[in-house]
């Protein structure tokens, strides 16, 4: 079976918001507006690679303080302590709550790190116009889109715990700066994934 034609071969352009397929007239530079919903049309997202790199690198830099700085201050019956995300994971593990330790480890380490690696790899291979494993790379991109926001788990756990535990002198739990960086990593990597245009993977095929 022959491969399906691509939009550029048929001189059409599709609207990202409403799915309308339009003629990509030579007079139009591909940056007109969709007549149905008004979204700006792009053949490819403008500056996709540069913007995705910038957001990805910013996210990676923020990931360092996100892990080094405490995310939560816990005061139990007078004795206070600052905790980083990984200390929390280790505590759960030693306490025998392997499942919870694993869930937090996946949300705070496995998900963000695989996003860094996958997005970095996708950007590099697209820049080299590589035709290697295109279908698998396309699948990896969709995986990054799906798992992206689960890292927000850490932020939400701190929020709920801090909202609940407020017994002044007895015990108190407060958010700390690390959680701000953690949230920024999630947001920046989500934006980086949105900026990446997966159609670029397949453009290497044409030349």
């Amino acid at each position: 079976m022959s491969a399906p034609p691509r939009a550029a071969q048929l001189h059409v352009i599709a609207c990202h918001t409403c799915g309308m397929v339009l003629e990509d007239a030579p007079g139009h530079p591909g940056h007109g507006r969709c007549p149905r919903c008004g979204t700006t049309l792009h053949r490819r997202r403008p500056n996709s690679i540069a913007r995705a790199w910038a957001l990805l690198i910013a996210g990676m830099l923020f990931y360092i303080p996100a892990n080094l700085l405490p995310v939560m201050y816990t005061n139990m019956l007078g004795s206070g302590s600052d905790n980083t995300i990984l200390q929390g994971v280790v505590e759960f593990w030693h306490g025998g709550s392997y499942g919870i330790a694993l869930v937090i480890f996946i949300a705070s380490v496995v998900v963000p790190c695989s996003k860094f690696l996958i997005l970095g790899m996708l950007l590099m291979t697209v820049q080299r116009r590589s035709t290697w494993a295109m279908r698998e790379r396309a699948r990896l991109y969709r995986l990054v889109e799906i798992i992206g926001y689960w890292s927000m788990l850490d932020v939400l756990v701190v929020a709920i715990v801090a909202a609940l535990v407020k017994f002044q002198s007895l015990s108190d739990i407060e958010p700390r700066t690390g959680i701000l960086f953690f949230g920024m990593v999630v947001i920046l990597t989500m934006l980086a994934a949105m900026q990446f245009d997966p159609r670029l993977i397949w453009d290497s095929e044409d030349t």
Binding site: H16, G19, A25, R36, R176, G183
Partner: protein
């Protein structure tokens, strides 16, 4: 074909992930059309008509109100009690040096789900009479933009982790808000995470119909 009006191809569909072009074919219920080149889903057969979709949206709205008014969790420690709602959880982040993170948190668990429900409700109330709601295009564009930022399911997992975390040294009782959040999670997935493209075709078929129907 030159000039202002661009030719459109309503019978075609383009894969968002690799730009492959296909002819639209009718699908049976539950079927998904996938791209041959990259395997991304192109479109799905929708088992919901506007009427049912609106009903689920109203149900989601009710669950949203309960989830926001009722406490998610109650805890007690040596005779003292405390409880927290969704809103209080987001507000708890607003204290101290990490205060900024309260903004995206409140957006992702409260504001975005609220907007999704409100926009869908608005669109569907009109769509069930085959009419285009005022501001239809803007509302549809917003739904597409909002989708990745709705985190009710992550919030649900967060509540469960928080319960297990606290139950080692406190007495923890789930409140009514947690059940509402769980149902809301399922409903939001059904109503907002689906292919909304067909709504365009549905309300587009009879653009001048609106006057005669009211």
């Amino acid at each position: 074909m030159s000039g202002g009006e661009l030719k459109t191809f309503p019978e075609w569909v383009v894969c968002e992930h690799c730009d492959s072009v296909y002819q639209r074919v009718a699908l049976a219920n539950g079927q998904v059309a996938r791209c041959e080149r990259c395997f991304a889903p192109l479109y799905r057969a929708s088992s919901l008509d506007a009427e049912r979709w609106l009903a689920l949206t109203v149900a989601a709205a009710i669950m949203f109100v309960i989830a926001n008014l009722c406490p998610l969790v109650r805890i007690s420690l040596q005779g003292l009690h405390n409880e927290a709602t969704l809103w209080q959880s987001a507000a708890a982040l607003a204290h101290g040096p990490a205060a900024l993170i309260a903004v995206p948190t409140a957006l992702s668990i409260i504001v975005v789900p609220f907007l999704q429900i409100a926009l869908l409700g608005w669109i569907l109330v009109f769509a069930r009479r085959k009419r285009r709601a005022p501001g239809f295009a803007t509302a549809m564009r917003m739904l597409v933009v909002l989708r990745p930022w709705s985190m009710v399911e992550v919030c649900m997992l967060g509540i469960l982790v928080a319960i297990i975390k606290l139950s080692s040294f406190l007495e923890v009782v789930p409140g009514p808000g947690i059940w509402a959040t769980a149902v809301l999670m399922v409903l939001i997935t059904i109503i907002a995470n689906r292919d909304v493209h067909w709504l365009w075709d549905m309300v587009e078929a009879r653009p001048t119909h609106s006057e005669s129907r009211t």
